[in-house]
């Protein structure tokens, strides 16, 4: 009598196949029972790896990115795409053009940067403003935000002030290299700046803030409350944190 091998028994256990042989072979039935016990063992061990995650924050982040049509491209081939290839190719080409323009606009002295600062500026610098923010219509990451500003901050202090954010809104703070701070928020948001100060009155949706790592002190105020303060003494985060890592802190407004 030829017994079933382990792979065949596993396929039976997993409902992928059936073998009449099992009816008459006690040894193979015993092997199958052992595999069922092993399933429970593996399942229990894997469950130990699971950690809670904030689904509502994820929902809001994904929805914002989907709504804005933002997504990274490349390195994954979709299984099924409706017959709109030509449209997507064009849109990707347009996206590539935008990214290229954004890259050029980041170069000091670039004519693209000069053009962008004249054409895309959300509002004229206010009187008394020493540094005009650089418009950032195409942020470095593929976030969903439609608009934003950047501000050169060679040294602290830096105050970032966010107003108008509604309950449930997500604020992502990312630590970045260099000496520029930035705020990105959904279309319709308003931005102002002064020396050492960035301010945004935002509409509903996710707000992303870039803070330069080396600049101290830095504070983030949201709705009149201090959410984050970074000084020589260290980082203090009294805001409603939902996720924190060395590169990013995510808040959700209660």
């Amino acid at each position: 009598m030829t017994h079933l091998d382990e792979g065949q028994l596993l396929a039976v256990r997993d409902g992928e196949s059936q073998h009449e042989h099992l009816v008459e072979c006690a040894d193979c039935r015993k092997g199958l029972a052992e595999l069922r016990g092993r399933h429970d063992r593996v399942s229990g061990a894997l469950a130990a790896l699971d950690a809670p995650t904030d689904l509502e924050v994820a929902r809001a982040l994904i929805r914002t990115r989907v709504t804005a049509g933002a997504a990274h491209t490349a390195d994954v081939v979709p299984l099924t795409i409706p017959p709109r290839r030509a449209f997507w190719s064009l849109s990707r080409a347009a996206g590539l053009l935008l990214v290229t323009a954004a890259g050029l606009s980041a170069l000091p002295g670039s004519p693209v940067r000069h053009w962008a600062s004249r054409v895309l500026a959300p509002e004229a610098p206010r009187q008394g403003t020493e540094r005009a923010p650089t418009p950032a219509s195409a942020p470095s990451s593929a976030e969903a935000e439609a608009t934003g500003i950047r501000l050169a901050v060679p040294r602290g202090p830096l105050r970032v002030i966010v107003g108008g954010a509604e309950t449930g809104a997500v604020i992502r703070v990312q630590w970045v290299p260099g000496a520029e701070a930035a705020i990105f928020a959904p279309a319709g948001s308003r931005f102002t700046s002064g020396e050492g100060r960035l301010e945004a009155q935002v509409t509903s949706g996710t707000v992303r803030i870039e803070l330069p790592r080396g600049v101290l002190p830095v504070s983030l105020e949201v709705g009149g409350r201090i959410y984050l303060r970074s000084t020589d003494a260290g980082l203090d985060v009294p805001g409603p944190v939902t996720r924190q890592s060395t590169s990013e802190i995510v808040f959700r407004i209660p």
Partner: protein, 163 residues
């Protein structure tokens, strides 16, 4: 495609799979969110099982691309915090921590493909779907999975003996 329904159905298992695969919660969330965004951006359509398979396949590829380097993976695993639940006593918390570390180490002893196959199977994917993700013949999935499972359990028990 209804966003909320798809999110509710697909995202929790997807992020769980990514957590198990990467050993890093932040990385898992980034990958799972990216896969969801791509799903909508590419307007992927089809019956729910096919859409779900697409999501997991995309997430698997993203993990491979972003977290393939062993050194990086080890770093991520070391940084993976084990946060005790506030309602747990220290004994239970310690036990959970130990179980988690054992399972993580056992998973890390598997080859990448075996790990992916094992985790996909325990998310309920069929052998055919698994074969499609890891690029093997469907007829060999049973044998490969059996080996992966056996090695995982052996690594778990080996870890228990040395604990």
């Amino acid at each position: 495609m209804d966003f909320d329904r798809l999110f509710d159905d697909a995202y929790p298992p997807l992020v769980r799979y990514c957590q198990r695969l990467t050993g890093d919660r932040d990385a898992a969330e980034d990958v799972a969110q990216e896969a969801m965004v791509r799903l909508f951006a590419n307007e992927v359509q089809g019956p729910p099982p096919a859409v779900r398979a697409w999501l997991f396949k995309t997430a698997t590829h993203l993990v491979r691309d972003r977290y393939r380097v062993d050194e990086n993976r080890r770093r991520l695993l070391q940084e993976n915090p084990v946060t005790p639940s506030p309602v747990e006593g220290p004994e239970r918390s310690f036990q959970r921590k130990t179980e988690r570390e054992l399972a993580r180490k056992a998973l890390e002893k598997l080859a990448d493909r075996d790990r992916e196959m094992l985790l996909l199977r325990y998310e309920g994917f069929s052998y055919k779907e698994i074969a499609d993700v890891v690029h093997v013949a469907a007829s060999s999935v049973g044998t490969l999975l059996a080996r992966a499972e056996r090695r995982f359990v052996e690594a778990l028990e080996g870890g228990l003996e040395t604990t």
